[in-house]
Amino acid sequence: MQEVISVQQLKKSYGELRAIENINLSVTRGMTFGLLGANGAGKSTTIECILGTKKADSGKISVLGMNPVSDRKKLFEKVGVQFQETNYQEQITVAELCDVTASLYRSPASPDDLLKRFGIEEKKKNIVKDLSGGQRQRLFIVLALIPNPEVVFLDELTTGLDAKARREVWTILSDLKKKGLTIFLTSHFMDEVERLCDQICILKKGKIVFYGTVAEAVKSSPYDKFEEAYLWYTDEEKQFDEESCTIQ
């Protein structure tokens, strides 16, 4: 199995605050990998260090065998990214945003084909901010796919969507997965993770508290449902109990 993303001993602090430490990840080709954890657990910091938009204090990172900082221009021809925040110009239309994005890459996919495939072709002339939440997320998937990527990073893609729109996005991601795309995602919805992810990593206060498959996560917890298992792993109380147990 070819390793697409490899992270070893990643560490990053903001001043005194240790945001993440001792993070080790390995994502192989075709895998959908979920990075989970509460807000502030270090998910975004981890993604940004992997992408090179934040500088890690120490650790080894490679994506598609390349260094995200020094090989930036070459690497990002093959990587699609969707950040959590909305990062487009206030008055830009769907077609304009797609054209500009396509112009950044040497051999981009046709935005028109992608828009058609994701059912938002008729919205081309609309201003992006006027789209519905579901349409906008579909557009962001289109943008992440324009480079014809080998791997995509999707940060909280479905946050803020209603149940129906979330299901639509799932179907799209499942299809992409079937086509062999490597997907690295973060999410707060455990039903989504259960359905999409081959492997997960749960972060708590910047450290890995679980790494493996969803089934394994359930098995090594006292619960039968993944959501409850997840809460058990990330529970603040639990660590406290464990610590007091050790002291005794």
Partner: protein, 259 residues
């Protein structure tokens, strides 16, 4: 090797053209730069033309009041784009994470800044041409000086004003702060540096205050160049403008915040 280089260059050209086209459309959709950088200089020209007509600049002057003011009018657009437009768009694009998004593409976020500088240069040049045509056609304007001197002075004013804008946009914490700083710089310069209200009609006390503003010095250069006056006593304004450009570019390069 050669072939790789060619595709790369054409790639960047394609990116630049697409971005320029889109950003220009977005800028025109916003209307404010069209009003402040294109319409406003023309309005001021017409007002000065109507008030002073073809009167000589002062008794016995060989040039008209309007000819004396032409250099100043051409800086209105530079000032609007450089000191108002540029800081706002740069801080807005950073606030929206647009600059950061370019960091995860093969293209440097620097390119979108170059595109913005190009757009405001286009506004300024369009305004210059429009002013020249209108002044010549309707108010009997004649250009006495050396076009080369004028072009040089114009470029220097443009670079120094844009570098102020890039510095403000690059280091202001958010769009709101950038907007406040831009207004504090823009409005006094627009009114008191002689760009709109002619320096010559100001009382001596106000002229002293005006002399502190960097644009006042730039306008002196352009005035001398357009009237064909000797460039020798322009050394002080020239040095001041170069210093401003140098310092602001240095600060922008060192302290620019991409996110």
């Amino acid at each position: 090797m050669n072939r790789v280089k060619t595709t790369k260059t054409s790639g960047i050209t394609k990116t630049f053209t697409t971005m320029l086209k889109t950003e220009l459309k977005l800028s025109l959709r916003g209307m404010d730069m069209f009003i402040f950088a294109i319409c406003m200089p023309v309005v001021v020209l017409v007002i000065l033309g109507i008030i002073y007509g073809n009167k000589p600049a002062f008794e016995g002057a060989e040039y008209t009041f309007l000819e004396q003011s032409f250099g100043a009018l051409t800086t209105i657009s530079i000032c609007a784009g450089g000191v108002m437009g540029l800081p706002l768009v740069v801080s807005d694009y950073r606030g929206r994470g647009i600059l950061k998004r370019y960091k995860v593409t093969p293209v440097s976020p620097m390119l979108i800044l170059i595109v913005q500088v190009t757009i405001y240069t286009i506004y300024a040049v369009v305004s210059l041409i429009l002013l020249y045509l209108m002044a010549t056609l309707f108010f009997g304007f004649r250009f006495y000086g050396s076009p080369v001197d004028f072009a040089g002075g114009y470029l220097l004013v443009l670079v120094s004003m844009f570098s102020i804008g890039m510095m403000v946009g690059g280091i202001a914490r958010n769009t709101k702060i950038a907007g406040v700083i831009a207004s504090v710089l823009y409005f006094p310069m627009l009114i008191f540096s002689g760009a709109t209200l002619p320096y010559e009609v100001m009382p001596a006390g106000l002229q002293k205050i005006a002399d502190i503003l960097p644009l006042t010095q730039g306008i002196k250069l352009l005035k001398a160049a357009s009237l064909g006056q000797s460039v020798e006593n322009m050394l002080v304004p020239l040095i001041i403008m170069c210093m401003i450009a140098f310092i602001c570019i240095l600060v922008s390069a060192k302290c620019f915040k991409w996110e």
